[in-house]
């Protein structure tokens, strides 16, 4: 009983911390994205609420909560409301195995990478459910797009992740980070540049972000899978999107950019992790506000004709070199 409790209590603390961290990150990045977008578009962005509009995301959240929860006619109410929850809840779990320091980690799991890949697929499921259950043709089209897209982009993501775990012999993110310790030359981006690029591209596809935001594509499908959602139903999808972005960027910085290791020995700390993650997030925001959206067949062509063969070749080459 005591052993059980001593395992459970840190886990609960970690889960609560992950929730707070997720909420905080979502707020920060909603603000940052709007501010970035503003400056890219030669306008100040949010400016009215608080100094330089820093309270804007809070007010937006309050506004969303104040809206009415509408269920469309003839919608499958259970599935319809299950979808946003299913999209949001796994994100909390995904933050647990991400190391911000040797001790600053929610739960050091041996199979952390597997856990993250497995639970991040829930997002695809949630999108499909949302599109299907909302009894809307645009929603169905968005869901159909999401199915092909998630299935397609998970494979190159998995293959690139595998190359890193081949090299380290571990699926634990903490192990992978520790093995990149020392100086900047030990980061895996130098040993696996191709995998890094494939991971970045697949990351855009996996998180449904522009230029790969085909499932919501507002100029074609009005809003795709979340056309019918109001209030916090939409809010949860919105938060989950930012949550997945933060998770994917964190994983990318752990796998390729050395996680909490600094560029020189002796200065490692959680702030490095934060800097790298936020730099990658800025890249995602930048891409979103700069590029047009690709077409659906082009999206799948990029994956099946380029990313997948390249990732496979990369994996085989890595395996061969490891064997030699």
């Amino acid at each position: 009983m005591n052993a059980f409790l001593s395992n459970l209590i840190p886990l609960i603390i970690a889960a609560v911390a992950a929730m707070i961290w997720l909420g905080l990150n979502a707020l920060v990045w909603v603000y940052c994205e709007r501010k970035f977008a503003g400056h890219i578009q030669r306008r100040p962005g949010p400016f009215e609420v608080g100094p330089h509009g820093v309270l804007q995301p809070l007010i937006d959240g309050l506004k969303l909560m104040g809206k009415q929860l509408l269920t469309p006619d003839n919608a499958d109410a259970v599935l319809y409301w299950l979808a946003p929850l299913l999209s949001m809840l796994p994100v909390l779990l995904l933050f647990l195995p991400i190391p911000y320091g040797p001790v600053l980690i929610g739960m050091d799991v041996n199979l952390a990478l597997l856990l993250i890949l497995a639970f991040s697929s829930f997002n695809g499921l949630a999108v499909i459910l949302a599109g299907w259950a909302s009894n809307n043709k645009w929603g169905v089209l968005g869901a159909a797009r999401a199915v092909s897209q998630t299935v397609a982009y998970e494979i190159p993501l998995l293959l690139t992740v595998l190359t890193v775990s081949f090299m380290t012999g571990s699926l634990s993110l903490l192990d992978i980070t520790v093995q990149q310790g020392g100086h900047i030359g030990n980061w895996f981006i130098w040993k696996q540049p191709l995998a890094f690029i494939i991971f970045i591209i697949a990351m855009f596809g996996e998180t449904n972000r522009a230029p790969f935001d085909l499932a919501e594509a507002e100029s074609e499908l009005t809003a795709g899978f979340h056309t019918e959602y109001s209030s916090m139903g939409f809010g949860l999808f919105f938060m989950a999107e930012y949550g997945y972005m933060v998770v994917m960027c964190s994983v990318c910085s752990v796998l390729f950019l050395g996680g909490f290791n600094g560029p020189f020995p002796g200065i490692e700390g959680w702030w490095w992790m934060l800097i790298k993650t936020y730099a990658l997030l800025s890249l995602m925001v930048w891409a979103r506000w700069t590029f047009p959206r690709v077409r659906f067949d082009q999206l799948l062509n990029i994956n099946w004709k380029w990313l997948l063969p390249l990732a496979t070749v990369n994996l085989l080459a890595t395996a061969l070199i490891m064997k030699l």
């Binding site: 507002e218 100029s219 009005t222 590029f291 047009p292 659906f296 067949d297």
Partner: protein, 390 residues
């Protein structure tokens, strides 16, 4: 049962009937619009899709019908001018011009030379705003948010300029039968002269940022082919026709006003695709600037501000007869046909909107493409819905 009865009642709705009757197995009929982000207003397109491939598409009009032609039969000749600004908010001045041109032709009125120049300058500036609006909105349709902000940045400067002699920013109605309502002031001409080099420096940036973008090129190249044959069958004009390689421009082929005094080219593209139409419009902006520059140079002095010579009173009575006048608008050939029975009120006014003909080519061009391509084709036609519905 009730749904069936509703269908029975809707027998008059041609589109619903046609699509319900002919729906194939495994296809989905979706309504794109009247409320849809990329139909720009209230255009409704009934689309039958197989997966994401379009089997049939049919534009349905009438959601913004404001009876402009019928209104013309109840208003005085002068009172109809403000209507023209509302027909096409993108290129309002060309519509103004087409109407007052027709009435002037009917009454045999000569327009003072300075007024002709001012009309040319303002209409060409308005063409720039029209193309800028289209450019931003088209890229927005393709999923890039930022370019419209840059386009509006420049458009805003033109609106500030045009606001001075016309007192409005979007729905202009400053043309009068026989001339113009107001003359340019010195500040206005100075602003115009500084704007042209500014915009000339900005255009290459548009090309760098957007035209050369690989995603954009893959989205619009070879999409929505409307060739010369289709243009002839549907009566497409303007950039759609010039994008198909036909150098037809009313300003050159049937020169009206003083357009024969300027040296400018008619840009064409042979690709017939959306990218061709895109490039034609961007090249047209450069030609418009050339015309403005030449017109500003040749502009006769004000001489007491005679821009409306012997202007008829608002309650004018043109002699009985008919007249047709056409001008080149941002979207193509704008034609106005007026009939007078000698009274204070027009007997009949017929408006020829280029957007209507251009839109009718959409159904054929979009068949067999993806849903995302339909948005790209629709945008490349540069539709202003109030003009189509009138």
């Amino acid at each position: 049962m009730s749904a069936y009865q509703n269908l029975e009642q809707m027998k008059g709705d041609f589109y619903t009937q046609k699509f319900e009757a002919g729906k194939q197995d495994g296809t989905l009929i979706i309504n794109m619009g009247p409320q849809h982000p990329s139909t720009h207003g209230v255009l409704r397109i009934v689309i039958e899709v197989d997966g994401e491939y379009i089997v049939r598409a049919e534009p349905v009009l009438g959601y913004l019908h404001r009876m402009h032609e019928k209104m013309g039969e109840t208003q005085t000749w002068g009172g109809f001018i403000p209507n023209m600004g509302r027909v096409d908010y993108g290129h309002a001045m060309a519509w103004n011009w087409a109407y007052v041109g027709a009435v002037e032709k009917l009454m045999g009125i000569e327009v003072p030379e300075r007024a002709e120049y001012l009309r040319v300058i303002m209409t060409e500036f308005n063409r720039l705003t029209s193309h800028l609006l289209w450019w931003g909105a088209y890229i927005l349709d393709l999923g890039a948010f930022t370019p419209i902000m840059y386009a509006f940045d420049d458009r805003e400067m033109i609106l500030d300029i045009l606001q001075r002699p016309s007192a409005s920013r979007l729905t202009y109605s400053n043309f009068r039968v026989g001339g113009l309502q107001m003359d340019f002031d010195d500040k206005c001409i100075e602003l115009m002269k500084t704007f042209i080099p500014h915009f000339r420096a900005r255009l290459p940036m548009y090309h760098d940022l957007v035209t050369e973008n690989i995603i954009l090129r893959r989205r619009v190249e070879d999409i929505g082919v409307i060739d010369q044959d289709m243009c002839r069958r549907y009566g497409c004009t303007g950039p759609v026709l010039r994008g198909a390689g036909v150098p037809y421009d009313v300003r050159k082929d049937e020169p009206y006003s003083i357009y024969d005094r300027f040296d400018f080219e008619i840009p064409t593209q042979d690709t017939c695709c959306s990218m061709g139409r895109y490039k034609v419009r961007l090249a047209e902006m450069e030609q418009s600037m050339r015309i403005i520059e030449q017109a500003l140079e040749q502009l006769p002095s004000a001489e007491g501000g005679h821009i409306v010579d012997k202007a008829p009173k608002p309650a004018m009575k043109p002699p009985a007869g008919e007249a047709y006048f056409n001008v080149e608008g941002g979207r193509g050939k704008i034609g106005v046909y007026v009939v007078s029975d000698g009274g204070k009120v027009p007997y009949r006014i017929k408006l020829r909107a280029p957007g209507f003909s251009n839109l009718s080519a959409f159904a054929e061009a979009a068949t067999g493409t993806l849903l995302a391509d339909a948005v790209a084709i629709l945008g490349s036609l540069d539709l202003i819905i109030p003009e189509i519905d009138r």
